[in-house]
Amino acid sequence: MKPEHVQMLASQIEALMLASDEPLSLTRLRGLLDEELHSSDIRAALSELEALYRNRGIQLIQIAGGWQFRTAPEHADLIQQLWEIRPQRLSRSAMETLAIIAYRQPVTRAEIEALRGVKVSSQMIATLQERGWIKVLGRKEVPGRPHLFGTGKQFLVDFGLESLKDLPDSAQLMDEDEIQQMVMGSIQQHENEETEPGKENPDQDEIGNTYLNANKTASG
């Protein structure tokens, strides 16, 4: 492979390493990168990166069958200081995952992914489990027998909830416009039902339907 290709490859791998929340294995990298690449090309780019980051504040290390960026061990104290000042906030994606598990338990990872439209990493699940906020309730009897997740006791304790019933009803979480649309919808339905026999008020009916249809088109 030409040097500029190795460099391009190294650039791609560098970006993947930063964005990934799991160590990336050679197999995974090959799956993500150009399919025609040989493992040896990827290895070459990885060693180049490893060398590049040697003796720097960031290192590319091999762990759990893959590669990952870590801060250099000599800066441990500094990092400790950085983290002590402000406790970690859960990332937005972790929050969404937790919320889906809370409202939708028991739920599988695939179901969470379907709702979020994004992959849910093992690392994220592990973080939530470690915190005691979620736990495995059982397995779903579908191919692969995936774990079913639910919230743990610590979730109620930490979020100040007596029981899951104290979580606001999901309907309460809608905003003004959505509620108005729903109300309009049900009023209309009601009116349709009422005027059905004698058709006493046909005009209103028609306008209402137009409105409803338009809404459906808009949301569809």
């Binding site: 960026f69 990092i79 969404e96 937790l98 409202y103 979020r116 309730l137 397995r139 606001p168």
Partner: protein
């Protein structure tokens, strides 16, 4: 040649045939439609042929069969503005302001269009900027060396609810209804039932024995039915009217 005559001539030309058909829902409002008509036909925004543009605008409006009433309002207001401008352009004598200068009735509309076009363009540029979470990404977990202890994340109910709202929004009305219609109490009970079944099978009576009151009983039954429907548990009744046994699909290793 006066505006009036010019406008009349154009109106008779039946120009719209040259325009590819457009749907109203491609647009963000009446100003967007007008800008499309003006720019695609290379008209001068400071000398808009009112008669032609009014005809074209109304055609697009007519082609749209169903319209949200609220949105329709904005389009209709513009239609009446256009018709009014068109008729003002037909007046034989130009209107004058206090200082005796000619007033072009289209000035206000032109200013509105220029202002809107600016923001339409800026919106596009803003949209093309590399955006966090779409084009560029940051690190989301921080696994540093073993001798560093990371404080555990803090619980924040508001953030949790906000996150859930975001999910609800994304999945949209219908899907949302299908997915989140069970009440929290059923969900909670489903989790409890599953947990109790972890150690092996249970008789239905056993499971229902501890339930205080009718509502709790109903909730548990609903939870069992839902788990059964989801094929998370097996329900066995060996003889009719015999006892019912609930089993986890397979005891967890």
């Amino acid at each position: 040649m006066s505006h009036a005559v010019q406008a009349e001539l154009i109106a008779h030309e039946d120009a719209p045939h040259a325009l590819p058909p457009v749907q109203l829902d491609q647009f963000e409002g009446p100003l967007d439609v007008l800008l499309h008509l003006i720019r695609s036909q290379e008209m001068d925004i400071f000398d808009i042929p009112m008669a032609m543009i009014t005809v074209q605008y109304l055609r697009i409006l007519e082609a749209q069969q169903e319209m949200d009433l609220e949105v329709a309002g904005d389009y209709l207001v513009m239609a009446s503005t256009l018709m009014q401008l068109k008729s003002r352009m037909l007046l034989p004598r130009p209107e004058m302001d206090e200082e005796g200068n000619q007033i072009d009735p289209r000035a206000e509309l032109a200013a509105q269009l220029v202002a809107y076009e600016q923001y339409r363009m800026l919106a596009e540029e803003l949209n093309e900027r590399p955006r966090l979470g779409r084009d560029v990404f940051v690190r989301s977990i921080f696994p540093e060396s073993k001798n560093v202890e990371r404080p555990l994340p803090e619980a924040d109910l508001d953030a949790l609810l906000l996150a859930f709202r975001a999910v609800l929004k994304r999945v949209g009305g219908e899907v949302r209804h299908q997915i989140f219609n069970e009440t929290m109490s059923v969900r909670e009970r489903m989790a409890t039932v599953l947990e109790r079944l972890r150690k092996g099978g249970l008789q239905l009576d056993e499971l229902l024995a501890d339930e205080p009151g009718r509502e709790a009983l109903v909730t548990t039954v609903l939870a069992i039915l839902e788990l059964w429907r989801q094929q998370t548990i097996t329900v066995i009744q060996s003889e009719s009217l015999g006892s019912i046994t609930l089993l986890p699909k397979e005891v967890i290793e």
